[in-house]
């Protein structure tokens, strides 16, 4: 009881700090592919945050949210990468 009550909030804080670092790269990235890569990494960090939140509140409902975040991250990143690959072929 005493270990998890500080270890899981510490893990949540580290994941939130990781998301902030990714957000800095997302806002500052010099090219478009840097921003897409940072958004993909941010989806991964958010999914890990959802898994740790599910352990923090002892609820299995966060698992489905994490699965949805992973799914939308894959679809969004792949669509944006294909746009980067194809949007300049037309140009």
């Amino acid at each position: 009881m005493s270990i998890l009550s500080w270890a899981l909030p510490a893990a949540l804080a580290m994941l939130a700090l990781a998301m902030v670092l990714t957000l800095v790269r997302l806002l500052r990235g010099p090219a478009a592919q840097d921003r897409v890569l940072a958004l993909d990494c941010m989806y991964l960090n958010g999914m890990l945050l959802m898994l740790v939140l599910g352990m923090q509140f002892a609820s299995a409902h966060y698992f489905e949210a994490a699965l949805l975040v992973a799914l939308f991250g894959f679809v969004g990143s792949t669509a944006m990468a294909k746009f980067l690959l194809r949007g300049e072929v037309i140009e």
């Binding site: 580290m14 990494c41 890990l48 699965l67 980067l84 690959l85």
Partner: protein
């Protein structure tokens, strides 16, 4: 209801795995922020998708298995899904970045997938 009652070994295992996974996520994000060029930066999130995700997934499996007193393997589904989808996304992103770098005239390796024109190979 912060956390439920777990035995001590399960608490130590879950805490160690969750902290290790979160620390690896922090290291990967710091690498994404600090590395100088795009082709070095694209390697940094791979450690989040492999080692960090698998650490937190094992923490979740141990936590829910001990909590529910039965084997809970549903976090393995996320890890398998990520293991399938992250290489696809990364290959698309790297191909897009190589295409844009070739278009911008930077010194990247030439295209090997189909026959390039002879004057385009020394660019």
């Amino acid at each position: 209801m912060s956390t439920a009652d777990l035995p001590l070994w399960a608490e130590v295992a879950v805490a160690a795995l969750a902290l290790l996974g979160a620390g690896i996520a922090l290291v990967g994000s710091l690498g994404l922020l600090r590395l100088p060029t795009y082709f070095e930066r694209v390697h940094a999130p791979a450690i989040i998708a492999t080692l960090g995700l698998w650490c937190i997934m094992h923490a979740s499996i141990v936590y829910f298995s001990v909590l529910g007193r039965s084997l809970a393997l549903h976090p393995l589904l996320i890890a398998l899904f990520i293991a399938i989808t992250v290489p696809v996304t990364n290959i698309f992103l790297m191909r897009a970045a190589l295409f844009r770098a070739r278009r911008a005239g930077q010194s990247v390796p030439p295209n090997l997938s189909h026959k390039a024109a002879p004057e385009a190979e020394n660019s």
